[in-house]
Amino acid sequence: MKRLLQNHIVVPGPSRRRFYGHGIPNVELDQLAGKLIVVEGADGSGRSTQIALLVEWLEGCGHATVQVGLKRSTLVSEELENAQEGNILSRTTLSLFYATDFADQLENIILPALKAGFVVLADRYIYTLMARDMVRGMDEAWLKNLYGIALEPDAVFYLNVAPEELVQRSFAKNSALDYWESGMDLGLSRDMFDSFMKYQVLMQKTFRHLQTTYGFTIVDGLRSADALNADLRKKISAVLAGK
């Protein structure tokens, strides 16, 4: 019996699927057999490390995986990168450009993969996009309508790391702070360090606000990568088992 259990591959049960709003036209939700798992968090919160570990584990358990992330669409990722480089897009334009990138990946990668029964791991989802825009003064109701195209994931984990730790991790990795991750376009402070700290605090506040609507799971990102991953595996196992 014990041996049997070890080789046993968990066949995920059906998910109760819904779009957050109007959704994508002509999608049959009950055909989306796979699972959509989202990992959210600031740069330096350990998202990519965690996703890499999860992929290894999931594949070992017999699940096929696909990864998506922001600014990775064939449609506009290149143009978006170019436009952002010059910092010339105004906020609504940038917001819609990112929404286009998201929609392209949703329709061409996420939905087909779910239909084929894959576990889709998303390195950030609409919440980061919404939070960034809200911090820049965009209307929340407008954003909710815009991202009403998004499919509700099976699980969303927000890796919570304090700005003080994020700044240390960023320096350890690149010896520099990123312009956008420091919110320099907002004019919070001319000092990049100050701006980074203020911006990250604003982002965390906004995430906490979004959490009340979208109910994602906030996990402590300050633990070791392995301890954190063990926690995520436990939670994802429950999702796969249909709990």
Binding site: G21, T93, T100, G148
Partner: protein
């Protein structure tokens, strides 16, 4: 949603809408010339023309990569860029802004493509309404003929081929345009379109448009400010002479 006048902008936005081939671009061009020749502050903006977004749009269209949702979003991105960087600042500066197609084009097209109307309208609700919207109403057959006569090669999205209405591009175009016309007509009252009979002669239409504009707007409000004359410089030999002598040489 409010118009720019209702939002107390000094400028005014005038939009033209209608099917491809309804003659709206010709009419807005003639309107622009008339306003410019009166020394008014005029700016013209065309649908789908933002430099920043163009690269993405044209690639996407060539490779037929767009779904109804991304088609809608990429055009909204283009519109937002023009709106925030050009239209709004110019309207703040008291310009007459002429738009060849405005949000109603998206309301009609995207809905025909299957996007939920409330979603599309919600996305564009950052934009104020035009102060005047001219809707060019031609018989469907006339519009179709104008396009089909002049440009026999229909582009994929233009013909609505993505909707799988017909495998024949011409037939697809006919059905697609017919559905867009229905959408336009359905919102005509809601958005106070000023209907122009596009079956009329060019001059007659233009006469009506100019008259309506002069009635509704106080055009002298949009005059270019008289610039102070530049300080007089000591006279130099007029360059015109050089030009004339050059020209004579060229003739020889």
């Amino acid at each position: 949603m409010k118009t720019f006048a209702e939002l107390n902008f000094p400028g005014r936005l005038i939009a033209v809408e209608g099917l491809d081939g309804s003659g709206k671009s010709t009419q807005i061009y003639l309107l622009k010339r008339w306003l410019e020749l009166q020394g008014l502050k005029v700016y013209f903006s065309e649908w789908n023309s933002s430099e920043l977004v163009k690269a993405a749009t044209s690639k996407a269209k060539k490779r037929e990569l767009l779904t109804p949702t991304t088609f809608s979003l990429i055009h909204a991105t283009d519109f937002a860029d023009r709106y925030e960087r050009h239209l709004v600042p110019l309207l703040r500066a008291g310009y007459l802004v002429l738009c060849d197609r405005y949000i109603f084009t998206a309301f009609a097209r995207d809905v025909v493509r299957g996007c939920p109307p409330e979603w599309v309208r919600g996305i564009y609700n950052f934009a104020a309404l035009p102060d005047l919207t001219f809707f060019f109403k031609a018989d469907l057959q006339v519009s179709l003929q104008r396009i089909l006569d002049g440009r026999p090669l229909l582009k994929y999205f233009e013909a609505g081929m993505d909707l799988r209405l017909s495998t024949d591009p011409y037939e697809s175009f006919r059905i697609f345009q017919g559905r867009i016309l229905e959408q336009y007509l359905a919102m005509s009252t809601e958005f106070s379109f000023l209907g122009i009979d596009a079956n009329e002669l060019v001059e007659k239409q233009q006469g009506i448009i100019r008259e309506l504009l002069a009635q509704r707007l106080n055009l002298t409000d949009f005059r270019r400010a008289e610039r102070p004359l530049p300080a007089r410089r000591p006279q130099r030999p007029p360059p015109a002479q050089v030009l004339i002598s050059n020209r004579e040489e060229a003739v020889e």
